[in-house]
Amino acid sequence: MAHFPILQSGVRNAARDEASIAEAALLARVASRDQNAFETLYRAYRPRLRQFLMRMTRQPALSEDVLEETMLVVWQKARTFDNGSKPSTWIFAIAWRQALKALRKQREPVEAVDPDTLRSNASGPEGEMHRRQMGERLRAALAGLSAEHRAVIELTYYQGRACREIAEIMQCPVDTVKTRMFYARRRLKALLLFTQEDLP
Protein backbone atom coordinates (compact mmCIF):
# COMPACT_ATOMS: atom_id res chain seq x y z
CA MET A 1 0.00 0.00 0.00
CA ALA A 2 1.26 3.47 -0.86
CA HIS A 3 1.82 6.09 1.83
CA PHE A 4 1.72 9.29 -0.14
CA PRO A 5 0.00 12.16 1.69
CA ILE A 6 -1.11 13.86 -1.54
CA LEU A 7 -2.61 10.73 -3.06
CA GLN A 8 -4.49 9.81 0.08
CA SER A 9 -6.13 13.22 0.22
CA GLY A 10 -7.67 12.38 -3.16
CA VAL A 11 -6.92 15.71 -4.83
CA ARG A 12 -8.46 15.71 -8.31
CA ASN A 13 -7.31 17.71 -11.31
CA ALA A 14 -10.53 19.72 -11.42
CA ALA A 15 -10.10 20.68 -7.78
CA ARG A 16 -6.53 21.74 -8.50
CA ASP A 17 -7.67 23.88 -11.43
CA GLU A 18 -10.21 25.56 -9.21
CA ALA A 19 -7.62 26.17 -6.50
CA SER A 20 -5.22 27.65 -9.08
CA ILE A 21 -7.82 30.08 -10.37
CA ALA A 22 -8.82 31.13 -6.88
CA GLU A 23 -5.14 31.63 -5.99
CA ALA A 24 -4.52 33.65 -9.18
CA ALA A 25 -7.45 35.86 -8.15
CA LEU A 26 -5.93 36.28 -4.70
CA LEU A 27 -2.55 37.17 -6.24
CA ALA A 28 -4.23 39.80 -8.42
CA ARG A 29 -5.67 41.36 -5.27
CA VAL A 30 -2.29 41.10 -3.50
CA ALA A 31 -0.76 42.96 -6.47
CA SER A 32 -3.16 45.82 -5.75
CA ARG A 33 -1.94 45.88 -2.13
CA ASP A 34 -4.96 44.09 -0.61
CA GLN A 35 -3.60 42.92 2.76
CA ASN A 36 -6.66 40.76 3.50
CA ALA A 37 -6.00 38.81 0.30
CA PHE A 38 -2.35 38.47 1.25
CA GLU A 39 -3.22 37.03 4.65
CA THR A 40 -5.63 34.54 3.07
CA LEU A 41 -2.87 33.45 0.71
CA TYR A 42 -0.39 33.25 3.60
CA ARG A 43 -2.68 30.99 5.62
CA ALA A 44 -3.29 28.76 2.61
CA TYR A 45 0.40 28.36 1.84
CA ARG A 46 2.00 28.35 5.26
CA PRO A 47 1.56 24.58 6.00
CA ARG A 48 2.94 23.52 2.58
CA LEU A 49 5.82 25.99 2.61
CA ARG A 50 6.66 25.13 6.20
CA GLN A 51 6.89 21.43 5.34
CA PHE A 52 8.95 22.10 2.21
CA LEU A 53 11.35 24.56 3.87
CA MET A 54 11.75 22.48 7.00
CA ARG A 55 12.76 19.55 4.79
CA MET A 56 15.16 21.77 2.84
CA THR A 57 16.87 23.51 5.75
CA ARG A 58 16.32 21.03 8.62
CA GLN A 59 16.46 24.00 11.01
CA PRO A 60 13.15 25.31 12.42
CA ALA A 61 14.40 28.87 12.97
CA LEU A 62 15.99 29.10 9.53
CA SER A 63 12.96 27.60 7.76
CA GLU A 64 10.73 30.15 9.55
CA ASP A 65 12.99 32.99 8.37
CA VAL A 66 12.96 31.70 4.79
CA LEU A 67 9.17 31.31 4.87
CA GLU A 68 8.85 34.94 5.97
CA GLU A 69 11.24 36.13 3.25
CA THR A 70 9.35 34.07 0.66
CA MET A 71 5.99 35.62 1.52
CA LEU A 72 7.55 39.08 1.64
CA VAL A 73 8.77 38.56 -1.96
CA VAL A 74 5.25 37.37 -2.89
CA TRP A 75 3.86 40.62 -1.44
CA GLN A 76 6.41 42.77 -3.26
CA LYS A 77 6.41 40.93 -6.62
CA ALA A 78 2.77 39.84 -6.95
CA ARG A 79 2.27 42.28 -9.84
CA THR A 80 4.95 40.45 -11.85
CA PHE A 81 2.93 37.19 -11.74
CA ASP A 82 1.68 36.81 -15.33
CA ASN A 83 -0.27 33.50 -15.24
CA GLY A 84 2.56 31.85 -17.21
CA SER A 85 2.64 29.16 -14.54
CA LYS A 86 0.40 28.04 -11.70
CA PRO A 87 0.45 30.38 -8.69
CA SER A 88 1.68 27.51 -6.50
CA THR A 89 4.60 26.82 -8.88
CA TRP A 90 5.50 30.53 -8.85
CA ILE A 91 5.41 30.70 -5.03
CA PHE A 92 7.38 27.48 -4.55
CA ALA A 93 10.01 28.70 -7.04
CA ILE A 94 10.47 31.79 -4.84
CA ALA A 95 10.71 29.58 -1.74
CA TRP A 96 13.29 27.35 -3.44
CA ARG A 97 15.49 30.35 -4.40
CA GLN A 98 15.19 31.86 -0.92
CA ALA A 99 16.09 28.53 0.72
CA LEU A 100 19.12 28.08 -1.53
CA LYS A 101 20.27 31.61 -0.72
CA ALA A 102 19.93 30.97 3.02
CA LEU A 103 21.73 27.62 2.81
CA ARG A 104 24.58 29.11 0.77
CA LYS A 105 25.05 31.78 3.41
CA GLN A 106 25.37 29.02 5.99
CA ARG A 107 27.52 26.89 3.69
CA GLU A 108 25.45 23.84 4.60
CA PRO A 109 27.34 20.53 4.27
CA VAL A 110 25.75 18.74 1.32
CA GLU A 111 26.04 15.08 2.28
CA ALA A 112 26.11 14.99 6.07
CA VAL A 113 24.32 12.51 8.29
CA ASP A 114 25.33 11.14 11.65
CA PRO A 115 25.03 7.33 11.52
CA ASP A 116 24.30 7.27 15.26
CA THR A 117 21.20 9.36 14.64
CA LEU A 118 19.91 6.70 12.31
CA ARG A 119 20.72 3.81 14.65
CA SER A 120 19.20 5.41 17.76
CA ASN A 121 15.75 5.48 16.15
CA ALA A 122 15.87 2.03 14.69
CA SER A 123 14.62 -0.22 17.48
CA GLY A 124 11.19 -0.68 19.14
CA PRO A 125 7.99 -2.77 19.32
CA GLU A 126 5.64 -3.54 16.45
CA GLY A 127 2.42 -1.90 15.20
CA GLU A 128 1.87 1.83 15.36
CA MET A 129 5.10 2.36 17.26
CA HIS A 130 6.97 0.53 14.51
CA ARG A 131 5.38 2.69 11.84
CA ARG A 132 6.25 5.85 13.73
CA GLN A 133 9.81 4.63 14.06
CA MET A 134 9.89 3.91 10.35
CA GLY A 135 8.84 7.52 9.86
CA GLU A 136 11.66 8.63 12.17
CA ARG A 137 14.16 6.53 10.23
CA LEU A 138 12.90 7.98 6.97
CA ARG A 139 13.24 11.51 8.34
CA ALA A 140 16.80 10.78 9.49
CA ALA A 141 17.67 9.18 6.15
CA LEU A 142 16.24 12.16 4.22
CA ALA A 143 18.51 14.39 6.29
CA GLY A 144 21.43 12.54 4.74
CA LEU A 145 20.53 13.75 1.26
CA SER A 146 21.70 16.96 -0.38
CA ALA A 147 19.37 19.97 -0.46
CA GLU A 148 18.58 19.36 -4.16
CA HIS A 149 17.75 15.70 -3.55
CA ARG A 150 15.60 16.50 -0.51
CA ALA A 151 13.71 19.11 -2.52
CA VAL A 152 12.93 16.66 -5.34
CA ILE A 153 11.66 14.05 -2.85
CA GLU A 154 9.63 16.61 -0.94
CA LEU A 155 8.02 18.10 -4.05
CA THR A 156 7.20 14.67 -5.48
CA TYR A 157 5.93 12.75 -2.47
CA TYR A 158 4.71 15.41 -0.04
CA GLN A 159 3.55 18.12 -2.45
CA GLY A 160 2.37 15.78 -5.24
CA ARG A 161 4.16 17.70 -8.01
CA ALA A 162 4.70 16.39 -11.52
CA CYS A 163 8.24 16.22 -12.90
CA ARG A 164 7.68 19.21 -15.23
CA GLU A 165 6.39 21.38 -12.37
CA ILE A 166 9.44 20.51 -10.24
CA ALA A 167 11.68 21.55 -13.14
CA GLU A 168 9.86 24.90 -13.24
CA ILE A 169 10.23 25.40 -9.49
CA MET A 170 13.91 24.42 -9.43
CA GLN A 171 14.56 26.18 -12.75
CA CYS A 172 16.34 23.26 -14.35
CA PRO A 173 15.64 20.82 -17.21
CA VAL A 174 13.17 17.96 -16.66
CA ASP A 175 15.98 15.44 -17.22
CA THR A 176 17.94 17.01 -14.37
CA VAL A 177 14.95 16.46 -12.07
CA LYS A 178 14.79 12.78 -13.12
CA THR A 179 18.52 12.36 -12.55
CA ARG A 180 18.36 14.02 -9.13
CA MET A 181 15.48 11.75 -8.17
CA PHE A 182 17.39 8.69 -9.38
CA TYR A 183 20.40 9.46 -7.16
CA ALA A 184 18.17 10.57 -4.27
CA ARG A 185 16.41 7.18 -4.34
CA ARG A 186 19.69 5.32 -4.48
CA ARG A 187 21.12 7.22 -1.50
CA LEU A 188 17.87 6.94 0.46
CA LYS A 189 17.79 3.20 -0.12
CA ALA A 190 21.38 2.83 1.08
CA LEU A 191 20.74 4.90 4.22
CA LEU A 192 17.57 2.96 5.08
CA LEU A 193 19.34 -0.34 4.46
CA PHE A 194 22.08 0.78 6.78
CA THR A 195 19.60 1.18 9.64
CA GLN A 196 17.75 -2.03 8.71
CA GLU A 197 20.91 -4.06 9.27
CA ASP A 198 21.10 -2.71 12.81
CA LEU A 199 17.60 -3.82 13.73
CA PRO A 200 17.46 -6.62 16.34
Binding site: M1, A2, H3, F4, P5, I6, L7, Q8, A14, D17, E18, S20, I21, A22, A24, A25, A28, S32, D34, Q35, N36, A37, F38, E39, Y42, R46, R50, Q51, M54, E64, L67, E68, M71, L72, W75, Q76, N83, G84, S85, K86, R131, R132, M134, G135, E136, L138, R139, T156, Y157, Y158, G160, R161, A162, C163, E165, K178, M181, F182, R185, K189
Partner: protein, 219 residues
Protein backbone atom coordinates in the same frame (compact mmCIF):
# COMPACT_ATOMS: atom_id res chain seq x y z
CA UNK B 1 39.48 -9.83 -17.95
CA UNK B 2 39.27 -7.67 -14.87
CA UNK B 3 36.36 -9.49 -13.19
CA UNK B 4 33.95 -6.50 -13.35
CA UNK B 5 30.28 -7.33 -13.77
CA UNK B 6 28.68 -5.18 -16.47
CA UNK B 7 24.95 -4.42 -16.35
CA UNK B 8 23.23 -3.89 -19.66
CA UNK B 9 20.02 -1.91 -19.33
CA UNK B 10 17.78 -1.15 -22.24
CA UNK B 11 17.16 2.58 -22.77
CA UNK B 12 13.47 1.89 -22.25
CA UNK B 13 14.07 0.26 -18.85
CA UNK B 14 16.25 3.18 -17.78
CA UNK B 15 13.63 5.73 -18.84
CA UNK B 16 10.77 3.85 -17.14
CA UNK B 17 12.78 3.34 -13.95
CA UNK B 18 13.24 7.12 -13.72
CA UNK B 19 9.50 7.68 -14.05
CA UNK B 20 8.56 5.27 -11.25
CA UNK B 21 8.48 7.86 -8.42
CA UNK B 22 5.85 9.92 -10.28
CA UNK B 23 3.98 6.76 -11.27
CA UNK B 24 3.86 5.89 -7.56
CA UNK B 25 2.77 9.39 -6.50
CA UNK B 26 0.13 9.61 -9.27
CA UNK B 27 1.53 12.87 -10.73
CA UNK B 28 2.31 11.44 -14.16
CA UNK B 29 1.07 12.15 -17.69
CA UNK B 30 -1.46 9.57 -18.99
CA UNK B 31 0.77 8.50 -21.93
CA UNK B 32 3.71 8.00 -19.58
CA UNK B 33 1.51 5.99 -17.23
CA UNK B 34 0.56 3.68 -20.11
CA UNK B 35 4.23 3.13 -20.97
CA UNK B 36 5.07 2.34 -17.34
CA UNK B 37 2.12 -0.07 -17.11
CA UNK B 38 3.29 -1.94 -20.20
CA UNK B 39 6.87 -2.15 -18.94
CA UNK B 40 5.88 -3.21 -15.41
CA UNK B 41 3.97 -6.19 -16.81
CA UNK B 42 7.24 -7.77 -17.89
CA UNK B 43 10.03 -6.24 -15.74
CA UNK B 44 10.53 -7.81 -12.31
CA UNK B 45 13.19 -5.27 -11.29
CA UNK B 46 10.83 -2.35 -11.86
CA UNK B 47 8.04 -4.20 -10.02
CA UNK B 48 10.32 -4.55 -6.97
CA UNK B 49 11.43 -0.95 -7.17
CA UNK B 50 7.80 0.19 -7.28
CA UNK B 51 6.97 -1.96 -4.26
CA UNK B 52 9.85 -0.37 -2.36
CA UNK B 53 8.73 3.15 -3.29
CA UNK B 54 5.18 2.36 -2.20
CA UNK B 55 6.37 0.94 1.12
CA UNK B 56 8.05 4.18 2.23
CA UNK B 57 5.98 5.65 5.10
CA UNK B 58 5.93 9.26 3.87
CA UNK B 59 2.65 9.93 5.68
CA UNK B 60 4.29 9.13 9.03
CA UNK B 61 6.92 11.80 8.46
CA UNK B 62 4.74 14.91 8.00
CA UNK B 63 5.23 17.86 10.34
CA UNK B 64 2.64 18.19 13.12
CA UNK B 65 0.02 20.88 12.46
CA UNK B 66 0.47 24.31 14.05
CA UNK B 67 -1.95 26.00 16.42
CA UNK B 68 -3.85 29.13 15.35
CA UNK B 69 -1.80 31.08 17.90
CA UNK B 70 1.48 30.00 16.21
CA UNK B 71 0.21 31.07 12.79
CA UNK B 72 -1.11 34.40 14.10
CA UNK B 73 2.22 35.12 15.79
CA UNK B 74 4.14 34.47 12.55
CA UNK B 75 1.67 36.60 10.59
CA UNK B 76 1.96 39.43 13.09
CA UNK B 77 5.74 39.51 12.60
CA UNK B 78 5.26 39.67 8.84
CA UNK B 79 2.61 42.45 9.04
CA UNK B 80 5.20 44.71 10.62
CA UNK B 81 7.60 44.05 7.75
CA UNK B 82 4.94 44.68 5.07
CA UNK B 83 4.32 48.19 6.40
CA UNK B 84 8.01 48.88 6.99
CA UNK B 85 8.86 47.60 3.51
CA UNK B 86 6.68 50.17 1.74
CA UNK B 87 8.16 53.16 3.59
CA UNK B 88 11.67 51.83 3.22
CA UNK B 89 11.26 51.41 -0.57
CA UNK B 90 10.10 55.01 -1.02
CA UNK B 91 13.01 56.33 1.07
CA UNK B 92 15.45 54.14 -0.86
CA UNK B 93 14.12 55.32 -4.25
CA UNK B 94 14.44 58.99 -3.25
CA UNK B 95 17.92 58.38 -1.89
CA UNK B 96 19.00 56.60 -5.10
CA UNK B 97 17.54 59.35 -7.29
CA UNK B 98 19.37 62.03 -5.30
CA UNK B 99 22.65 60.10 -5.40
CA UNK B 100 22.26 59.48 -9.18
CA UNK B 101 21.66 63.21 -9.80
CA UNK B 102 24.77 64.21 -7.88
CA UNK B 103 26.92 61.64 -9.67
CA UNK B 104 25.65 62.51 -13.19
CA UNK B 105 27.92 64.65 -15.46
CA UNK B 106 26.99 68.34 -15.81
CA UNK B 107 25.81 67.99 -19.44
CA UNK B 108 23.42 65.13 -18.43
CA UNK B 109 21.88 67.33 -15.73
CA UNK B 110 21.35 70.17 -18.26
CA UNK B 111 19.81 67.72 -20.77
CA UNK B 112 17.42 66.34 -18.15
CA UNK B 113 16.45 69.83 -17.00
CA UNK B 114 15.72 70.82 -20.61
CA UNK B 115 13.54 67.73 -21.08
CA UNK B 116 11.57 68.48 -17.93
CA UNK B 117 11.05 72.11 -19.06
CA UNK B 118 9.85 70.90 -22.48
CA UNK B 119 7.39 68.43 -20.91
CA UNK B 120 6.00 71.15 -18.61
CA UNK B 121 5.53 73.42 -21.64
CA UNK B 122 3.65 70.72 -23.55
CA UNK B 123 1.37 69.95 -20.60
CA UNK B 124 0.59 73.65 -20.17
CA UNK B 125 -0.21 73.99 -23.90
CA UNK B 126 -2.55 71.00 -23.78
CA UNK B 127 -4.37 72.29 -20.72
CA UNK B 128 -5.05 75.69 -22.30
CA UNK B 129 -6.46 74.16 -25.51
CA UNK B 130 -10.23 74.09 -26.04
CA UNK B 131 -11.51 70.57 -25.48
CA UNK B 132 -14.66 69.08 -27.03
CA UNK B 133 -16.81 66.52 -25.22
CA UNK B 134 -15.42 62.99 -25.80
CA UNK B 135 -17.10 61.04 -28.61
CA UNK B 136 -17.71 57.32 -28.24
CA UNK B 137 -19.18 54.91 -30.75
CA UNK B 138 -21.66 52.39 -29.45
CA UNK B 139 -19.16 49.58 -30.01
CA UNK B 140 -16.31 51.23 -28.12
CA UNK B 141 -15.14 49.69 -24.85
CA UNK B 142 -16.20 51.47 -21.70
CA UNK B 143 -13.21 53.67 -20.81
CA UNK B 144 -14.06 53.47 -17.13
CA UNK B 145 -12.53 50.14 -16.08
CA UNK B 146 -13.96 50.59 -12.59
CA UNK B 147 -17.40 50.00 -14.13
CA UNK B 148 -16.31 46.52 -15.25
CA UNK B 149 -16.03 43.47 -13.00
CA UNK B 150 -13.59 40.73 -13.98
CA UNK B 151 -14.29 37.02 -13.72
CA UNK B 152 -12.01 34.03 -14.32
CA UNK B 153 -13.67 31.05 -15.95
CA UNK B 154 -12.62 27.56 -17.02
CA UNK B 155 -14.92 26.01 -19.61
CA UNK B 156 -15.52 22.29 -19.79
CA UNK B 157 -13.29 20.85 -22.58
CA UNK B 158 -16.37 19.36 -24.29
CA UNK B 159 -18.22 22.68 -24.69
CA UNK B 160 -18.76 23.94 -28.26
CA UNK B 161 -17.90 27.43 -29.55
CA UNK B 162 -21.58 28.05 -30.32
CA UNK B 163 -22.48 27.23 -26.73
CA UNK B 164 -19.72 29.52 -25.38
CA UNK B 165 -21.04 32.40 -27.52
CA UNK B 166 -24.59 31.83 -26.32
CA UNK B 167 -23.45 31.63 -22.70
CA UNK B 168 -21.45 34.86 -22.95
CA UNK B 169 -24.38 36.70 -24.50
CA UNK B 170 -26.78 35.39 -21.87
CA UNK B 171 -24.47 36.43 -19.03
CA UNK B 172 -23.57 39.82 -20.54
CA UNK B 173 -19.85 39.08 -20.31
CA UNK B 174 -17.06 39.16 -22.91
CA UNK B 175 -13.62 37.53 -23.03
CA UNK B 176 -10.81 40.05 -22.42
CA UNK B 177 -7.83 37.76 -21.73
CA UNK B 178 -6.65 34.16 -21.74
CA UNK B 179 -6.30 31.31 -21.93
CA UNK B 180 -3.84 31.21 -18.98
CA UNK B 181 -1.53 28.28 -18.16
CA UNK B 182 -4.44 26.67 -16.31
CA UNK B 183 -6.81 27.10 -19.28
CA UNK B 184 -8.74 29.96 -17.68
CA UNK B 185 -10.23 32.96 -19.53
CA UNK B 186 -10.73 36.41 -18.04
CA UNK B 187 -14.20 37.87 -18.66
CA UNK B 188 -15.38 41.43 -18.19
CA UNK B 189 -18.98 42.18 -17.21
CA UNK B 190 -20.72 45.40 -16.14
CA UNK B 191 -20.13 45.68 -12.39
CA UNK B 192 -23.83 46.20 -11.71
CA UNK B 193 -24.64 42.84 -13.37
CA UNK B 194 -21.57 40.94 -12.14
CA UNK B 195 -23.42 38.85 -9.56
CA UNK B 196 -26.03 37.87 -12.14
CA UNK B 197 -23.35 36.93 -14.67
CA UNK B 198 -21.48 34.92 -12.02
CA UNK B 199 -24.63 33.00 -11.08
CA UNK B 200 -25.50 32.40 -14.75
CA UNK B 201 -22.04 30.99 -15.51
CA UNK B 202 -21.95 28.89 -12.33
CA UNK B 203 -25.29 27.32 -13.18
CA UNK B 204 -24.13 26.17 -16.62
CA UNK B 205 -22.81 22.64 -17.08
CA UNK B 206 -20.36 23.85 -19.71
CA UNK B 207 -18.47 25.84 -17.07
CA UNK B 208 -16.14 23.92 -14.85
CA UNK B 209 -15.09 26.81 -12.59
CA UNK B 210 -15.82 30.51 -12.28
CA UNK B 211 -14.56 33.01 -9.69
CA UNK B 212 -14.69 36.81 -9.31
CA UNK B 213 -11.26 38.41 -9.75
CA UNK B 214 -12.27 41.82 -8.42
CA UNK B 215 -12.18 42.46 -4.68
CA UNK B 216 -15.59 42.45 -3.07
CA UNK B 217 -17.13 45.89 -2.61
CA UNK B 218 -15.94 47.76 0.43
CA UNK B 219 -12.56 46.00 0.80
Amino acid sequence: MNGRVLHFESPDHREIDRLLPWYASGAIEPDQRDRVDAHLAECVRCQRELEWLQSLPFDADALPAETEADIEQALQRLRGRLDAGAGQRVRLSLHNAHRGWRRAPVWTRWALAAQVALCCGLVAALLTQHTDAPYHTLGAANPDSAAQARLAVVFDPSISLVRVNALLQASGARIVDGPTATGAYVLAAPRADADKALARLRADRGVRTVVALSAPAGR
